[in-house]
Symmetry: C2
Subunit: 472 residues, 2 copies
């Protein structure tokens, strides 16, 4: 432990109370490894303030003693953004004690949640007033509002409601000098210069710690319809997406799945079976929802799929007969990563290109990767309507046990080059963190690299906010 760390910890304990400081190694240990279990850091303490003022106090102490802080929410990030550096130079700043929902209002369609509120808790709070916070993702039982905002999280409902960036109505944050930015007033229009709220969203804690967020709520779902359709190609899937969107505003979920991914799920996940009788090269999971009980979304979706079938856009479709079947359809989609892991080593890429370009990209990139790295299987699945595909490369059955470590880097660079050539993003929703920092530095435009470095240096000149993350 450095002298600065020791002084900060002592001061924090004195001012914030003993609950705010954790130094027992067994208590710290679980928070030193990232969610995927690939990155391991070190830190002598977790500081856990209970209020915005306490966060400001900790940040001021960190500045005074030149001790870097690594903000952490549910520690469910995909790119290691919340894992401390290995040299133990930083302290973890846990937001878990800031877990109050300050307000939730159906009338204003707003909730204000502190950074440490777990997503699922916000979902429930919204439900109690007949509303809904529409963003959701697999880790909803652990991920926190602060982390979701700091990483501009996405998920499966982005098609209709956008990412966190669209759902955040205001941000409260402690800036690296210990001052408090309060953007929670819930103003719908405010043109007083650069949007600090928008700058902090997706900044991964590198220029401030988000302490609370005002979030837009939408009316609760009154009914939903879920269907599974078989299509000949990603182009057909996109045609289906556009056809449905041209006919209704109810579309909320649209997930693309390749046949081999579905077969892996059927093989590895007990109780799962294909919704359609025959086999199809590609599949689509469609969900429509309505907030108005009067609208028959099931009948509407059935009609639209019948028209799509007649028009040759889809080859077959099945409408979920009940909620259990709807959940089963979604489970097929949500189990792909798990099934792939069960099958063998998988290298994941979270990429985006323009929606219109995705079908072509998906087919061509898969072919190119499989040609360049004989034996692998390259496939994509996910949020076609957002132009965001999880592009996974699976090791062949004869791959060495260290395939991931040995070939992963080269394959990832190959994929990232294809994405960049297509004008896309090497991180659609998972952020940069530490995992993608090298690739980001290699591929980002000089203008972007310069601007990011300049902003970081300007707002965090001492480099105490989440060092080693995001900035190329």
């Amino acid at each position: 432990m450095t002298d600065g760390q020791e002084r900060l910890i002592a001061e924090a304990e004195r001012r914030l109370g003993p609950k705010a400081v954790v130094t027992g190694m067994a208590d710290i240990e679980p928070w030193l490894t990232d969610w995927r279990g690939r990155l391991h850091g070190a830190s002598p303490a977790i500081i856990a303030p209970a209020s915005t003022e306490e966060v400001a106090e900790v940040v001021r102490l960190a500045a005074e003693h030149r001790v870097p802080l690594v903000p952490q929410g549910g520690n469910t990030g995909m790119s290691g953004g919340a894992t401390p550096p290995t040299d133990g130079s930083a302290l973890l700043l846990s937001m878990r004690r800031m877990n109050r929902i300050r307000s939730v209002s159906a009338e204003n369609r707003l909730a204000v949640a502190e950074a440490g509120v777990v997503l699922e808790a916000l979902h429930h709070a919204a439900e109690t007033v007949g509303m809904r916070f529409p963003l959701t993702l697999g880790s909803r039982g652990s991920c926190t509002i602060g982390g979701l905002a700091s990483t501009n999280a996405g998920g499966t409902q982005v098609l209709k409601f956008g990412t966190m960036r669209s759902l955040v109505a205001g941000v409260e944050a402690v800036l690296p000098d210990g001052s408090i930015h309060n953007g929670l007033s819930g103003l719908k229009k405010d043109n007083r210069g650069y949007s600090l709220d928008q700058l902090l969203i997706g900044a991964e804690g590198t220029i401030g710690v988000i302490t609370a967020v005002a979030l837009r709520l939408v009316p609760a779902v009154a009914a939903r319809a879920v269907a599974w359709a078989g299509v000949a190609s990603p182009t057909h899937a996109l045609d289906l997406l556009r056809f449905i969107q041209s006919q209704t505003d109810s579309l909320e979920g649209f997930e693309l799945v390749r046949e081999d991914c579905l077969q892996l799920v059927v093989k590895h996940v007990p109780g799962s079976r294909s919704p359609l009788r025959g086999s199809h090269p590609w599949h689509v999971l469609v969900e429509t929802t309505t907030a108005k009980a009067a609208l028959d979304v099931g009948g509407q979706l059935e009609r639209l799929l019948a028209e799509a079938l007649k028009a040759g856009i889809i080859a077959d479709a099945a409408l979920a007969a009940n909620e259990a079947q709807a959940d089963a359809f979604w489970k097929l989609r949500d189990s792909i990563s798990e099934a792939e892991r069960a099958e063998g080593q998988t290298l994941a890429h979270d990429v985006s290109v323009a929606v219109a370009d995705m079908p072509k990209f998906l087919v061509e990139a898969s072919e190119q990767v499989e040609r360049a790295f004989p034996g692998v299987t390259a496939t994509g699945f996910g949020h076609l309507g957002d132009g965001n595909i999880h592009f996974h490369v699976r090791a062949g059955s004869h791959a060495a046990p260290d395939w991931y470590e040995r070939e992963g880097g080269e394959i990832t660079r190959f994929v990232d080059d294809l994405v960049t050539a297509a004008g896309g993003s090497i991180s659609a929703e998972h952020g940069i963190g530490q995992l993608k920092r090298g690739e980001f530095a290699r591929l980002a435009s000089p203008a972007r690299v310069h601007a990011l470095r300049a902003i970081k240096q300007a707002l965090d000149p001492l480099g105490i906010m989440n060092p080693g993350k995001l900035i190329p």
Copy 2:
């Protein structure tokens, strides 16, 4: 003219051609005064590049010769953000020659327009493909896309579609070092660090020049319904807003008008008359639209207003019987500023508070202003659903001709104090420019002031981008 200006002009003429440089005083003159005619600047030349690369070239020359640039679009800003400083130290950077619509696609629901494209031209381009760009405002025949993005413009359709910030899918800009940021790829999801697009929106040209914008399109309007309702108070108006919003997604316009404003319009604008027979303390203009021809928005709005009447939310209502009448209703709303000017001196404030707080604020602030400044009339009208009211203070009939100059500052400070105490914004949609810079500096939080200055200094260390604007 300074040596640096002379060298820049000569170089620009040599590299960009004679069309790109305007030095005739008669040609420059109209661009030296702001839209309201209150601010006057000076500049020895207008530089008008025709491409992004030419803009980059001009910015590099400006950096080399230390000559500040004032980016200008349609010169329709409300806060003097595009008016050069009075000392003639800056050159105008006109975007008017960058007026191509690079693409417009119904399929992708996107258009890419260069900064100098006039809003109305974009409206027409969207119409040709059966789509619509939903942002609109009074100056649509002159204002440009670059200026709209740089000021995060609002207008009358924000309730449904948001400000420019929500409608911009990507920004291309030249940064102060002459590098080009290209955010036009149309990615719906991209988490590669701080959003430069969002930072540039509303930055008023102080950290870069927006050269082109990717804009979201929505389906064209198939039908609209417009109604005028009389209500007892702003609280009743808000109740009506929430009632309609709870029943339909079709609500697009919701404008609040006080009786005295309506009477001024009737008095000063030829051919205008009140839509309702009796008199009401407050009025509301409601517009609903649909993109689907099948939906009877007129019948729906009529039904909703009948229910609101029965529930005592409104006192009376009239549905526009045809398009001409709908236009006439809107003209009443749009003519308020003009009618006020005809009546006498008016001091305008463009303020916002949280939507739920607006009715109380509006009534109380009017009373407080009228008490503090005997003889004046304080009133508000505008975008109630956005919490954004144009809060106008009219001079009494016995006011001195120099009332505006003599008392304006004090009244504005009084209003701005009330807005700040209510957690609101002193600039909801008009920006800061040079007009509101003093008040912004006086009232902004230290955290905001520090962050804005740090970002400006980091990205524009030479201070060549629109100096004297926005930054407190």
